[in-house]
Amino acid sequence: MKNCLNYKATNAVLMTEEAILSGCLHNDQVAQRELYARYSPKMLSVCYRFAHNREDAEDMLQEGFIKVFSQIHTFLNKGAFEGWVRRIMVHTCINHLKKNKKFNESVDLIHATGIQVREESIPSIVQAKQVVECIRILPLGYRTVLNLYAIEGYSHKEIGDMLEIEESTSRSQYTRAKQMLEDILVKKNIIQKARKKAEWFGLASGT
């Protein structure tokens, strides 16, 4: 009986998503609002990790959702809809950074290794927000590569194409980004030092 109820509940959710997609395909405002309400919190956090500040993140989110709604007819139900939305958001963020020249001008990946992270610059926050804020402390280029590789799952080749850098550059910068993030997380006591590799994630996840 429990399984049956779960099935019905899952089915109802699926139907709702189908209805939302169908409504959005017909430019229905209620369906658009529902889709936005459902995905905007997650997508804003995606944008926020790429953006310079929250205002920029909201600009990216707005631009991204306009693209989602205007290109929704290109979604062919192959794969998860959320993944499709997320890909559009990520590309919108990258395009936004490029268009505003923040990416090219502010990121000198080679020289960014010398950046020192001050303890007091780490926000006093907890859990997911804590980690996200630590990621945001990274220089823009590091942050972008780390976001794309570790969180969004793009390959270094894809990242190289997107950011117009060499694949090897993406690899090396990711290594440095990860090291820098690790240092930040250690300083914040979110993880233990790298030499206690096997323990650090236990501390982080031992909430």
């Binding site: 936005y36 956090s45 192959k78 590309h91 490029k98 980690v131 982080a204």
Partner: protein, 479 residues
């Protein structure tokens, strides 16, 4: 091994924590999304409807039914026309000379000058009959020099019956008459019938009366008709024009660097396609239209200055193919427009070559322009003319629904940020016109060309819109 394990766990933790984090956007984000999807369309369609309604209203009131019950009739005092029927629109201020004969028999030429102000008879007066009295100064040359106004007369305009077309008015001249004064006009004595009051309603002489009866106007109108100089030529007119158009475009540009950049960025890579952009797409003309209203000012008999506002709906079709969604990359120019240094990547399910099914794309532009130009009469008389005209049209793009081809010519995608908002168009036309009863009808071919690309300078491929149309216009002379 440990390192790999550590790396994987580290990435998993980062991803897990990042995915857990949610932020709630402010309401303005949704408003921005919503407005972009809905309000702008509403706005320009509303604007278009308002523009059409306004033009239609003026077309009906000014051209189709000029004597409308809602119209305010403006009446000026003196008719400088030989017509027996007075058109109120043709009444202009006047002066007339009359002879003042005093007791000593000396004649002094004195001038009466009607007021230049207008009498407005509102629409609600349409059924009103009665008289309107308008005072005016009577001055001789000495008075004019000295600035002294010795005496005052008045014009009485009587509308004997409700407005009709043609409208008729009786006009009487009232002059102050002292006991030792009499008046003559063109050598004919003017009688008065009320000397005691010091004001006299002057009646025309028998000869003038006969003429008045004949033409059903009073003697002053007749006097004005024969002695007054004709009014100034009318220079200002108003035009309404509509053109069904065939729209097309010309594509140029694209650079090898941009092409390579775009091709590399796209996954999976496919065979390289190179060549002239115009030859690599299949586009075909489509129907659009132009609607405009203009004010015209006659600089001379043959040359007219024209300015106004117009709406253009331009459209053309593109033959493409639907395909599974894939990455579509546009490589952008740098400042020097030679080397691609940046890209915009979207996902597109429309291909230029090869796909699962044919798909027609409709690129549409909604433009508002402020054309200014000149019209030149080449041949013809007052009724039938052959003219040419040219215009310069600063243009604002109200909205566009346009697919851009990627710089590797493989996909079509929408990227509104690359569409230029401001542009400049030029127009050229030739037309035959026929004028009757103050209304000019015209018809002739026109051509419109967009001077700057439809897209931002960063987009390597340039698009220039062209429109061929047949313009039909109607022009009403105003003043």
């Amino acid at each position: 091994m440990d390192q790999n394990f550590y790396d994987t766990e580290f990435e998993e933790l980062i991803k897990e924590k990042a995915d857990q984090y949610k932020m709630y956007p402010s309401e303005k984000v949704w408003k921005g999304v919503h407005n972009s999807l809905h309000s702008r369309k509403k706005w320009y369609w509303s604007g278009f409807v308002v523009l059409l309604s306004g033009i239609s209203y003026f077309a009906i009131t000014e051209l189709v039914a000029p004597v409308s019950s809602t119209r305010t009739t403006k009446l000026q005092v003196v008719p400088p026309t030989e017509k027996t029927v007075i058109d109120p629109d043709q009444l202009v201020p006047f002066t007339a000379d009359i002879n003042d004969i005093n007791n000593s028999g000396a004649e002094i030429v004195r001038s009466i000058q009607a007021p230049t102000s207008e009498i407005n008879i509102g629409a609600e007066d349409n059924s009103l009959t009665g008289s309107f009295e308008i005072p005016f100064p009577i001055a001789d040359i000495e008075d004019l020099v000295s600035g002294n106004q010795q005496e005052t007369g008045s014009l009485v305009i009587t509308r004997p019956k409700p407005f009709s077309n043609p409208e008729r008015f009786d006009i009487e001249l009232r002059l102050p008459v002292a006991a030792d004064q009499s008046w003559k006009m063109n050598g004919m004595p003017i009688n008065s019938n009320n000397k005691a009051s010091g004001r006299s309603i002057l009646q025309p002489t028998a000869a003038v009366e006969e003429k008045t009866e004949l033409h059903r106007i009073n003697w002053l109108q007749e006097q004005a008709a024969f002695t007054m100089p004709s009014g100034k030529p009318k220079r200002i007119s108003w035009q309404l024009a509509f053109s069904p158009t065939i729209n097309y475009r010309k594509l140029t540009g694209g650079s090898k660097n941009a092409h390579i950049k775009s091709m590399i960025a796209n996954v999976p890579m496919a065979l390289s396609i190179e060549g002239n952009a115009d030859n690599l797409v299949r586009h075909k003309p489509a129907l659009g239209f132009e609607l405009g209203t203009h004010g015209l000012y006659a600089l001379s008999k043959d040359l007219t200055l024209r300015g106004g506002i117009q709406f253009n709906y331009s459209r053309y079709d593109i033959a493409a193919y639907s395909a599974p969604s894939e990455q579509a990359t546009i490589a952008l120019n740098n400042t020097f427009r030679t080397i691609a240094n940046s890209t915009i990547t979207n996902y597109s399910s429309i291909r230029n070559f090869g796909g699962t099914a044919m798909e027609d794309l409709h690129n549409q532009y909604f433009q508002l322009s402020l054309p200014i130009g000149l019209e030149l009469r080449l041949l013809g008389n007052d009724h039938l003319q052959l003219n040419i005209a040219g215009s310069f049209q600063p243009t604002y793009l109200l909205n566009a629904n346009t697919y851009l081809i990627t710089t590797d010519y493989k996909n079509y995608t929408k990227e509104p940020s690359l569409v230029r908002k401001w542009n400049v168009n030029t127009g050229a036309e030739a037309y035959i016109s026929y004028t009757k009863a103050g209304v000019k009808w015209q018809v002739g071919p026109q051509f419109r060309y967009q001077l700057f690309s439809s897209y931002a300078k960063e987009y390597p491929i340039k698009e220039y819109l062209m429109e061929y149309g047949i313009k039909i216009g109607i022009t009403k002379t105003i003043r």
